[in-house]
Every structure is written in structure tokens, then in C-alpha cells.
């Protein structure tokens, strides 16, 4: 749940505390509204010009306007019934200005000429109020204007065109399959997102973008009443920057092995059957013996470790201290970057930042301050080589232009530096997962993401998972439970001794990467192939209360 939603509930105190965390995205609308085109682009352009002129007239030296229409559809079921169907639309304008060297921002859900002009003036007033208490003036990297341009996520089927009934039927069949196979509880959800973003700035850009995302998922649970124990297994799907085609079949999109895993297509019915079988095994699995193990991490798990321990510490705003009061700073410093020999990981470790990758959550044509999407290296042959920057930070890295990492979750939030897709490159030599496991004497093979926690400078982390398999002398010998691993980021990435080749490469990701005050969510993907880490500390998490 995002912080803003917390506030909506907590405006009444903690009255919402006992409510289920339903999707609160905006105003709810009938499903047909999700297919309307919304305000015409030519009208948006006129309104944007009104706002830009109003800002300039009040003394702004730079201004950008985002007229956003954010559509969400949330279909949630539990066992044999529908819990919630929400179609939501949020429409409004956010205006950011530079005046007296300071940023100001204002937003309104009334998008008329008069209102956008007033909102622009409010933004300038906020900037000027802040300038009074003295700040170093913002240095904004130059960005050429692109005139009128458009970009759209390359989807095959807009998820909003699929009838709600089809989605309900699919989810209820998923639930029925789980219950028939012996689950006690199952929740399943389809969440579809469409961001229709119009951006205009005093640089002369008018950028219209249509961004689509989809996340089908479930959780299967089983309770052993006699012992009072319960276990769950989440789906192995990923949130994707795709349309409804993610839920159709395509040859070559499955990865076989101890359990089927998925690339750019997801077979939810197959996965729920596998999950139900695994949740029963989990109840009876052996509790792990704590100690050092070699870990074999599946991409469905490793994406989250990459997210927390590589993607966050390479965010330049964290490095500089802009997140010190909330998310924290970073163990990676400008000195470490300048030294050009900071050993982030072993020689095998190559990590790229990529806003272009098809199917990923972070793919766009332009970021939320009018900078075109790019791809660049963060870690090269184990060495730290770059960070992630936006326009007012580019000068700190000696860059002439921004890397295009600016994003706002909605029209009523100010844009700031957010991570692009950050992915571990696959191994350069041919290596299968089976061959990787053959060489492990004492290890654990982890599939799916679980509990996660990392310190405010991204040194010390702890991760769980969905399923854990014990490896002894090159063979998988059975399932384990109560497993979490703890490590230091730099030691962990330097213990990387093998990465499977590109045939195993898959994307994982999240809709709800949180940062900032007020908090904002960012959707981001992280790719990898199965990877081996040697001698990692594993703890046993079983407790009795």
C-alpha cells in the first residue's frame, strides 16, 4: 500500500486500520470509460501553453506541465467469490516551475484554462517562498525540445478491452484449481494500469505517451489445523510492461526444471497447480540448518536482490543525501565512482540501466522531464562505472545531459529521480542451471521472492523466498523451509561465481518501489539469469509464540 493511500484512510485517524487494503487509485469509473481516449491532445497542448505562459509571467525561468490520466483496473477474488472490482481514473494537472533558483510544484484536478493558470501561479508562489530561506540555485542540464512527439508501450492486446467477466472467470478457475488440489485459501488478482501522460515544457517539447502495465498474481495458503502451522506460495508471475497477451501462450516462453518458470508469457493455471502442490510440501519440509551455503538464485528471486542492493545504491539522489531523511543514503559514493576501481562485484558482474527494454516496467519514450530514454552501464566487469541521474543532478557527474531517470507516480506528485530498469547481464559462456547445480557441494536453490530488508546505506541485507531446495553433492535432495540469507552487498556480489547464459534470462519486477516524501511508487523491472553466490550466511527463521 502506498503512503498516499494510508493518508486517505488516516485522515479519519486509524479508522481505516482494520479495512482490507483495497485498491485506492483514484475515482472509480465504469469499465467503458477506460477505453475512452480522454481529452484531445490538441486541447492538452493549448492548456499546457496557458500554464507555461502563466508561470513565465510570474517569473519562472523554467516550467513543465504534466496533464495525466491514470487508469487502473483491479479485479480481486478469494476462493469462490469476487472480492472487489475497481475501475479507477485519476485525471489532473501537475505543474513544476523554477523561480528564483528554487523548485515549486502545484497540482489540481480541475483542468480548465483558468485552473491551470492559477495552479501555475501557485507553483511559482511555492518556489518563491522556498527561495526566501536561501538555497543553492538549481542547475538544470539543458535539454533540447522535441516538438510534438508520441510514444506507446508496444502491446498486442490492451488489457482494458478484455471484458471484466473474462478476468473474473479466469481468476475463479485459478482459485477452483487450487481448492480442488487441497488449498485452504487462495487469493488472486489482475491489476491493469494505463498511464496517459502529456508533458510540455518551456524547452519546446509536447510529448504524448501511452504506457501500459499488467500484473496477474495469486497466493495459495494451506493451514495444518492440528499443529496450527500455515504456509503460502505466491505466483511466479511478474508485473510486466505488456498488454493482456502476457496471459496467452507462446512457444519458448516457459523454463522447465524443478518447477515451471515463465518469460514473456504466463500460464497462471499451470502455476497455481504447481503452487498448491508446493505449499503442501512446504508444511512438511525440513527446517534449515543455519550456516554457510552456496546459493543458486532463480531470476524470479534475484530481481529483488538486484533491486535493493544494486539499483537503489546507484541512485544519485541517495548518493548525494537527498533521501537521507527517509530511504537513506548509499555506501556507494562519488569518490568510489571517481576512483574507477571500486570492486562492486566479481569480474562476472555486469549491470546495465535500461529504459528501453521491451516488456519491462520502466520502458518509456521520454522521462517525466522530457529526456529521451537511454541505456548505460552501472557495473562493468565488477567495477562501479556510473550512477542514475536527472536534469538537476547531471552536472554533479560531469554529464552534459540527464540520463532520463525522472518519474512521478501521478499528476499530483512532483517528479524526481527514480531508478530505471537495472539488470544483471547473463553469463557470456554457455551454462545451464543443471550444470551449475552439478558443481555445488552444499547449497540452496531459491525460487520466488519473499521477505526483504536492507539498511539505509545498502550494506546489510536479508532475503527470504518462496521455495527452497537443498543441494547436496550436486543433486537436489529435497525442500527446506524457514530460510533467509543475510549478507553484505559488496561481499555478496564479489562471491558471484557463475551466471547462466542468456537462454535463462528473465525479468522480474515490482509496481510499488517506494521512495520520497510524500512517498511515491515506481514500477521497475530487473532481469537476470540464474546466478551462483558462494558461502552465504543462511539463518533459520522459525519461532514459537
Amino acid at each position: 500500500m502506498k503512503r498516499k493511500d494510508f493518508l486517505q484512510l488516516s485522515a479519519m485517524g486509524v479508522g481505516g486500520m482494520m479495512l482490507p487494503d483495497l485498491g485506492l487509485f483514484g475515482r472509480s469509473v465504469e469499465v467503458s470509460q477506460l477505453l475512452n481516449d480522454g481529452m484531445d491532445v490538441s486541447v492538452k497542448k493549448q492548456l499546457a501553453d496557458v500554464a507555461l505562459n502563466a508561470a513565465r509571467a510570474k517569473g519562472a525561468t523554467y516550467a513543465d506541465v504534466r496533464i495525466g490520466r491514470y487508469l487502473n483496473q483491479f479485479v480481486a477474488t478469494r476462493e469462490n467469490r469476487v472480492q472487489n472490482i475497481a475501475n479507477a481514473e485519476s485525471f489532473g494537472v501537475g505543474i513544476r516551475v523554477l523561480a528564483d533558483g528554487c523548485w515549486g510544484f502545484a497540482a489540481s484536478n480541475r483542468v480548465t484554462k483558468e485552473d491551470v493558470a492559477k495552479t501555475a501561479e501557485r507553483a511559482v508562489a511555492v518556489a518563491k517562498a522556498n527561495a526566501k530561506i536561501g538555497s543553492d540555485p538549481v542547475q538544470l542540464a539543458a535539454q533540447k525540445g522535441f516538438g510534438d512527439v508520441t510514444w506507446k508501450t508496444p502491446i498486442e492486446t490492451n488489457a482494458f478491452t478484455v471484458p471484466v467477466k473474462d478476468k473474473v472467470d479466469l481468476l475463479l478457475s485459478v482459485n477452483a484449481a487450487a481448492m480442488a488440489a487441497g488449498a485452504n485459501f487462495v487469493n488472486s488478482v489482475i491489476l491493469a494500469v494505463n498511464e496517459q501522460k502529456f508533458f510540455a515544457s518551456t524547452d519546446g517539447s509536447y510529448i504524448d505517451q501511452d504506457v501500459h502495465r499488467l500484473f496477474p498474481n495469486f497466493t495459495v495458503s494451506k493451514v495444518d489445523r492440528a499443529s496450527g502451522k500455515f504456509e503460502s506460495r505466491k505466483s511466479l508471475s511478474s508485473p510486466v510492461g505488456m498488454g493482456y497477451e502476457y496471459l496467452t501462450s507462446k512457444p519458448g516462453s516457459k523454463v522447465s526444471g524443478i518447477v515451471t518458470r515463465y518469460k514473456d508469457r504466463y500460464d497462471i493455471l499451470e502455476d497455481v497447480k504447481n503452487a498448491t502442490a508446493e505449499v503442501s510440501q512446504k508444511i512438511n519440509a525440513k527446517s534449515v540448518e543455519p550456516g554457510k551455503y552456496d546459493l543458486i538464485l532463480d531470476p524470479s528471486h534475484l530481481w529483488l536482490t538486484i533491486h535493493e542492493s544494486v539499483a537503489h545504491p546507484t541512485e544519485l539522489d541517495r548518493v548525494l543525501g537527498y533521501e537521507a531523511n527517509y530511504a537513506g543514503t548509499s555506501f556507494l559514493t562519488l569518490d568510489k565512482l571517481k576512483s574507477k576501481n571500486f570492486k562492486f562485484g566479481s569480474k562476472l558482474v555486469n549491470v546495465v540501466a535500461d529504459k528501453l527494454q521491451p516488456g519491462s516496467l520502466g520502458a518509456v519514450g521520454y522521462d517525466d522531464e522530457g529526456v529521451p530514454a537511454k541505456k548505460w552501464d552501472l557495473i562493468k566487469d565488477g567495477n562501479l562505472v556510473n550512477f542514475q541521474a536527472i536534469r538537476d543532478q547531471a552536472h554533479i557527474l560531469g554529464l552534459k545531459e540527464s540520463q532520463g531517470c525522472c518519474y512521478a507516480q501521478s499528476w499530483n506528485d512532483v517528479q524526481f529521480q527514480r531508478m530505471p530498469n537495472v539488470s544483471l547481464q547473463p553469463g557470456k559462456t554457455k551454462l545451464s542451471v543443471d550444470d551449475m547445480i552439478k558443481n555445488v557441494e552444499k547449497g540452496i536453490y531459491i525460487i520466488g521472492d519473499g521477505s526483504f530488508s536492507i539498511d539505509q546505506q545498502r550494506y546489510n541485507f536479508q532475503f527470504g523466498g518462496q521455495t527452497f531446495y537443498e543441494i547436496k553433492n550436486g543433486k537436489i535432495v529435497g525442500m527446506l523451509k524457514d530460510v533467509s540469507y543475510q549478507a553484505n552487498t559488496q561481499e555478496f556480489w564479489n562471491s558471484c561465481t557463475a551466471i547462466a547464459d542468456e537462454s535463462d534470462y528473465r525479468l522480474g519486477g515490482a509496481f510499488n518501489d517506494g521512495k520520497g516524501q510524500p512517498g511515491q511508487s515506481n514500477a521497475v523491472s530487473h532481469g537476470s539469469s540464474t546466478t551462483r553466490f558462494d558461502g552465504v550466511n543462511v539463518i533459520n527463521t522459525a519461532r514459537k509464540i
Binding site: G13, K132, K229, F331, Q456
Partner: protein, 443 residues
């Protein structure tokens, strides 16, 4: 104007009800206004000013419900939103758990609204932040902080004659100060309904003391230690436990589930020094008096002398179980003792003072095992005195186990959770055998 008075809200909602043709109809109005200012590296980084007002309508035919929302308020728009909700209801699947609406209830007036907070402006916010930055600069520290004020109201009405209205103001402030070498960091967080209670200067001084005091920390071995958790640390830990939901307990998937079936209502789950309750009229933590289930919020004990006294039953689950629905939490208050933080330290032979916790996540929902880290000032105590700052630890601990290991409770304080920003009244607490599992180099 995003904030409607009780009379304005009532008149508008009556009009909405007059358009309804459904078996049952309920409508809610929500409005908020406010602004925020964020700073880092001793300068303002972002600031904003936001206002919203929306109306949502739910219409029900039989057990089929549809909802629609709108942010335009002329008569035509009001009728349109009602018709749209009714159309959606006709298309919706039947909800077997639908509960008929309740009739009129008596809701008391809350004490959550303070005019001076509602009157804050971009300039008054900037001025308060300016004081904080000045303290940090004088102490040669780098400040990063956040100040946000919100004025909000909620009103609802249904076709059976129920009407409720609550208005509130909130302000939250948090500040982190770090030394230039990056070897020391301190934090303070405050939350109030009344801006007059917020002193950004003193809060920044507290953070500055912690930043200077935590520099050059020594590493000690992880393991089980007696800890003194300051209220802001205890609050974040305990927030993960404040879900006293009967249904998930009865279904066997909560820390309140009983092996063999049923829930732990009536069981001694914690040390007898532990008393946890909700009270919408507590002067230091006033809260809403209305609840979305349509029942008034009253004072209720959740944990009394360590015994589980109440669980929350939704109206559906209450009917299924044959019990009364409720009670509902509107805030969470834990009783404290009389000892000051200094007195808690003085009576500690060997222990660790924890200023703040960070990045807490659930490891096991059954035992409520949580993991997270200490942050912004962790100190070693020996023979009743703080000896030196120590490096941060990762912990793996359950708040339920922790509240079984209470040595002493300090004074109660209003604190905000560093993740949800909710306010709580929670005491400082001395806990034995708190489990630290590894060291962190983070400052």
C-alpha cells in the same frame, strides 16, 4: 474549497440520496487540502501544494453492488454518478458477504480539528523549515527533513438515514542530521493535530545531539541483548502487530490463531505490564469517531494486563460467528510507566539504547517474526551509563515475543511510524533478550 462544513456536506449528500432508485445507497465525501516541503543538504529540494475533493456512491440491488466516483458537484453530475453506480450494480456479481446497511447511529464530535494547522501556508512551512536548517548549519551538520500538513474531512450518508461527519488536521515533521564525514547520523520525528505543538528547532537539536553522539561507533558482537527502545523505535516495531482481526485468526492464518482451531481471545499472550487500547478522545492522540462499517468508534481495550481482550469482528464475520460486530480501532495507545529514559538507562547493567528502527519487514506472519535494522543512534550501556556509540545491527525478533520480555516501561509519547506516518502513543520500553543477528556498516 476542498473542505466542506458539516451542513454543506449533509445538504449535498441528501441531494445524492434523493436521486437513488436502488434497494440501498450510500455516499461518501472526502476532501483534503494541504502542502509539504522537503529539504536536504541544508536546502529545500521540493515543495508542493495539493487539494482534492471527491464524492463516491455505492448502490445495491439485492446483493449486487456498484460504485462510482466523481469530482464535479452540480445537480446533473450528482444524478449522473448515482445512475452510473446503479448501472454498475446491475452488472456486478453477487457478493455473498454483503451486509444490509445500518440505520441512524449516534456519532460523537471528534476533537481532531485545529484551525491554526488548517491555516498553514507555503511561507509558514518554509519558515519552520528555515529554523531547522539554521540549527543544522550552526552545528556543522547536514539536514534532510520533511514537513507536511493536511486538513481533511470525511462525510457519509446512506439511504437508511445514517449520517456521519469528521474533520481533522494533521502535521508531521521528520528530520535527519548527518555529520560531514558521514560517520554520525541522528533523527527526530513528530506528529500532531495542532501545529502549535510542533517545535522544529528543538526536534532538530535532538537529531543533532544524536548525530554528534553516534559518530565513530564501535562494533560489538551480535546476539541477545537487553534493549531500551525509544518510543519512535518501539512504535515502528509494534505497528506491525496492531491487526486484531478475528477473521484471519479464526481462519488459522494469524499470530492470533490457536493451534487446533479458533483464536486466542482471552489468552495471556504477553507480559502483564502490557495494556493496549484505542480511545478517540485521548487528548494527546484524538482520532475519528466514525467507521466505515457504520458503527461508532468507542474506547476499547485490545490487550489488558497481557491478555487478549477484544478482536475486531466485521459485521459479516460477527453474524457468521454469532457475536456482536466491532469493536473498531481508531488509534492505538499503549500504557507506559513513570520512568524517564535516563532512569531506564540508569537501571540497566548491560544493554543497548536504540534510537530508531528501519526497514522492518515480516519474515513469518505466524510468529510475527520481523527483521529490520537499528539506525540514527545506537549506544552501548554498561552499569547504568551510556558508554559509547555502537555500529548498527540487523534484528530478527517478534513483537509478541518482545512484549513477553518487558523489563520496564518508560513514559508514553506521541510518535509517528517512520514508514506509515501514523501517530501512536507508545512508551519507551526496556526489553530483555532482543535478538540481533548481524552487524551493519550503515550510518
Amino acid at each position: 474549497m476542498a473542505i466542506l462544513s458539516k451542513e454543506e456536506a449533509q445538504a449535498l449528500l441528501k441531494k445524492v440520496m434523493s436521486y437513488s432508485k436502488a434497494d440501498e445507497c450510500e455516499a461518501g465525501l472526502n476532501g483534503s487540502e494541504g502542502g509539504n516541503i522537503r529539504y536536504a543538504r541544508n536546502a529545500v529540494s521540493t515543495a508542493g501544494d495539493i487539494s482534492t475533493l471527491s464524492l463516491s456512491v455505492s448502490s445495491t440491488f439485492g446483493k449486487k453492488t456498484g460504485s462510482a466516483t466523481i469530482n464535479e458537484f452540480d445537480d446533473k453530475s450528482l444524478e449522473k454518478v448515482v445512475r452510473r453506480a446503479e448501472e454498475l450494480a446491475q452488472l456486478a456479481p453477487e457478493n455473498p458477504e454483503y451486509m444490509p446497511l445500518l440505520g441512524p447511529q449516534t456519532f460523537k464530535e471528534p476533537i481532531t480539528y485545529v484551525e491554526s494547522t488548517a491555516a498553514m501556508t507555503p511561507d509558514s512551512r518554509a519558515e519552520m523549515v528555515g529554523k531547522s536548517i539554521k540549527v543544522a548549519k550552526e552545528a556543522k551538520l547536514e539536514a534532510a527533513g520533511f514537513l507536511e500538513n493536511t486538513t481533511g474531512f470525511t462525510a457519509f450518508m446512506n439511504s437508511k438515514g445514517m449520517f456521519g461527519y469528521n474533520k481533522s488536521t494533521d502535521v508531521i515533521f521528520s528530520i535527519t542530521t548527518r555529520n560531514q564525514e558521514g560517520t554520525g547520523s541522528g533523527y527526530a520525528a513528530r506528529g500532531f493535530n495542532d501545529i502549535k505543538k510542533l517545535d522544529t528547532l528543538t526536534a532538530t537539536k535532538v537529531a543533532a545531539q544524536k548525530a554528534n553522539g553516534s559518530a565513530s561507533a564501535k562494533a560489538i558482537e551480535p546476539g541477545k541483548y537487553t534493549v531500551i527502545l525509544e518510543p519512535v523505535a518501539a512504535t515502528y516495531m509494534l505497528e506491525n502487530m496492531f491487526r486484531f482481526d478475528a477473521r484471519s485468526a479464526d481462519e488459522g492464518r494469524s499470530f492470533l490463531s490457536k493451534p487446533g482451531g479458533g483464536n486466542r481471545l482471552g489468552e495471556q499472550l504477553m507480559d502483564e505490564k502490557v495494556n493496549i487500547y484505542s480511545d478517540p478522545f485521548h487528548p494527546d492522540l484524538p482520532s475519528a469517531t466514525i467507521n466505515r462499517d457504520g458503527l461508532p468508534v468507542e474506547r476499547v481495550n485490545w490487550i489488558e494486563k497481557g491478555v487478549v481482550k477484544n478482536l475486531n469482528y466485521s459485521r459479516y464475520w460477527a453474524e457468521k460467528k454469532g457475536v456482536k460486530p466491532g469493536p473498531f480501532a481508531s488509534n492505538i495507545i499503549m500504557d507506559g510507566g513513570t520512568a524517564s529514559l535516563e532512569e531506564l538507562i540508569k537501571t540497566t547493567e548491560r544493554g543497548i539504547l536504540v534510537s530508531r528502527l528501519w526497514y522492518i519487514r515480516m519474515v513469518d506472519p505466524q510468529s510475527l517474526l520481523l527483521t529490520g535494522l537499528t539506525r540514527d543512534g545506537t549506544f552501548y550501556i554498561e552499569n547504568g551509563q551510556i558508554k559509547y556509540p555502537i555500529k548498527n545491527f540487523r534484528f530478527n525478533e517478534s513483537p509478541v515475543i518482545m512484549l513477553n520480555n518487558v523489563e520496564a516501561l518508560g513514559k508514553q509519547e506521541r510518535s509517528i511510524s517512520v514508514e506509515s506516518y501514523r501517530s501512536y502513543l507508545i512508551p519507551a520500553m526496556k526489553i530483555r533478550d532482543f535478538t540481533f543477528t548481524s552487524l551493519s556498516d550503515a550510518v
